[in-house]
């Protein structure tokens, strides 16, 4: 009680000793203002560079030209003309490629993460293949599978598989000794341990692999189109670039990034639903 008297005697000193946590000015800018401000600054710099003729207009179009082309490509997409068809082809490549990568990556990941055979015999080969520049396989896939979407799907899947294998295997190793012991004391079978404990525990790792894979699958599909022709969005970009139509290249890339963003967002959305219990379950941006 003497302690209580002591503190209560001192505490009420209201306004005189207010101590406020210091937040630096730059961190106090609201997020929306910061993002729009950054965008405006970027476009303004861009405008300056083109206006002052620092870079040839063929290499770098003005923001205005690009905006005009964005509207043109957007109209083309919305009205369902040839660009929409091209985007649909690329979308299919990405979706098929991702699906195949998930199926193969997950299976291999379980093999590597769950069995000694996988870890000792399969993993070294996977690591060896993973260190190769996978894009270099593109001509092979074209030779094997032709100029149609199959070769692009293959390259996309090939690139995206490895992060998913690693994510799955790392996830299966994430369960701690106590959890394993607990499941043994409960008399759980290997399959039960896998499904009820190891896989859920490893989901955050698995989703990290999926997110890296989602980025890779886009790169794979577009690279495949660059190198193997076809009728996808990558081909449109290649043609526009060969015609030095830089505004078109820019706007095509921007619309393409929407596809990548949609894929990534889908993965994040699924993760949020299934890994609701994990603390850093989503991008850092929406936690605080």
């Amino acid at each position: 009680m003497s302690t209580a008297d002591f503190t209560s005697g001192r505490a009420p000193a209201a306004a005189e000793t207010v101590w406020v946590e210091q937040v630096s000015l730059i961190d106090r800018i609201p997020r929306s203002v910061a993002m729009i401000g950054l965008f405006v600054a970027f476009v303004a710099t861009w405008q300056m560079v083109t206006l002052l003729g620092l870079v040839s207009p063929i290499l770098l179009p003005t923001p205005m030209e690009t905006a005009r082309d964005l509207v043109f490509v957007g109209t083309n997409l919305i009205t369902g003309q040839y660009m929409l068809g091209a985007l649909w082809i690329t979308t299919k490549e990405v979706i098929y490629g991702f699906a195949i990568a998930i199926a193969i990556g997950f299976s291999l990941g379980v093999l590597v993460g769950e069995t000694n055979f996988g870890e000792r015999a399969v993993l070294p080969y996977l690591v060896a293949i993973d260190t190769m520049p996978k894009i270099a396989f593109a001509p092979l896939f074209v030779a094997w599978l032709g100029f149609d979407i199959a070769s692009k799907v293959a390259l996309a899947a090939f690139i995206a598989t490895f992060p998913i294998v690693v994510g799955t295997a790392a996830g299966l190793h994430a369960a701690d000794e106590n959890a394993r012991m607990l499941f043994r004391t409960m008399g759980a079978t290997r399959l039960q341990t896998l499904i009820k404990m190891k896989l859920p525990t490893g989901l955050p790792h698995l989703f990290t692999g999926l997110k890296i894979g989602a980025v890779g699958v886009m790169a794979g599909a577009i690279t495949g189109e660059f190198l193997g022709g076809g009728k996808g969005f990558g081909e449109l970009i290649r043609v526009a670039a060969s015609q030095l139509n830089t505004p078109r290249v820019f706007s095509l890339i921007l619309y393409l990034s929407l596809l990548g963003l949609a894929l990534f967002a889908t993965v994040v959305w699924i993760q949020r639903r299934f890994v609701f219990w994990h603390k850093d379950r989503v991008l850092a941006s929406d936690s605080d």
């Binding site: 106590n178 607990l182 043994r184 004391t185 009820k196 859920p200 603390k279």
Partner: protein
């Protein structure tokens, strides 16, 4: 060489006590590391009794517990539980570890019924929800049934783990430093809770700990273990009346028992 110690300790026999766990000259050698972890351990646990094993880190007490739980085979010797040899994890054994090890994607009650789900499937687990609620109420977690573990404090998580251990109604409870990760105030409180639960169910309990006061306040017998090789050098009978209270922690007799165990540990543990 210490065989018979346990037999000599059949102690303040409350008539109907009979041996549940019987370990006969259990030894464990880890060949790969060339460690003689356990040497000729003889141990008898009476039904409804509370025994502790105490020793410094690395004296083999966790190995002993794992062998008793059927998680690790002994190199030599036999482990009998309720008349049957222990050759693997068994339903009639309940275990608790230093970490609560609750699964964060399951609510408290879903964590509690997990052993049932593993054993008998999801439907059986759901049928046990009423019983699980009662257990949670017993440990003072009424109203927390549908809360996820991240919202539980360390003590609450361990209480949930107690319920998970009890849901299968095991005949014996093996406790591996269950509260040593908790702060001391919570720990004292949890030890009293544990006593209440064990007495209420007449459970046979075996506690591994490195806290002498904890071992003394909870146990009928404290086995003192020394390392390299792991041996039971003394069985100290605790003749404090039940139920034990936290006030006993300061009683002279309690202090004498603690001193006796400490001197035994000092003599042997750090050679």
């Amino acid at each position: 060489m210490v065989s018979g110690v346990a037999a000599a300790l059949r102690g303040p026999a409350e008539a109907i006590r009979h041996p549940v766990y019987e370990l006969r000259s259990v030894s464990k050698i880890f060949l790969r590391r060339d460690v003689h972890a356990l040497d000729n351990i003889d141990l008898t646990l009476e039904s409804g009794s509370f025994a502790s094993v105490i020793g410094s880190s690395g004296c083999g007490k966790s190995t002993l517990l794992k062998i008793m739980a059927g998680l690790l085979p002994p190199t030599a010797g036999s482990v009998m539980l309720a008349g049957r040899p222990v050759t693997g994890p068994r339903e009639d054994i309940g275990m608790m570890f230093q970490q609560a090890t609750l699964f964060p994607w399951r609510t408290a009650i879903e964590n509690v019924v997990l052993p049932i789900e593993i054993r008998d499937g999801k439907r059986a687990a759901r049928a046990k929800h009423d019983q699980a609620s009662q257990l949670l109420e017993l440990v003072g977690l009424k109203g927390f049934e549908h809360v996820y573990p991240k919202e539980l404090s360390g003590g609450m998580a361990q209480r949930t783990a107690i319920c998970r251990m009890l849901i299968t109604e095991p005949a014996v409870l093996l406790l591996d430093e269950p509260f040593s990760a908790l702060d001391e105030l919570t720990r004292d409180f949890m030890n009293m809770e544990l006593q209440r639960i064990c007495m209420g169910r007449n459970a046979t309990s075996f506690l591994v700990t490195h806290s002498i006061p904890e071992a003394v306040i909870l146990s009928d017998v404290v086995y003192v273990m020394t390392p390299r090789p792991g041996r039971i050098v003394e069985a100290v009978e605790v003749d404090l009346p039940r139920p034990r209270t936290l006030e006993m922690l300061t009683a002279p007799h309690f202090g004498a028992l603690v001193d006796r165990i400490r001197s035994r540990l000092d003599k042997e543990a750090f050679i």
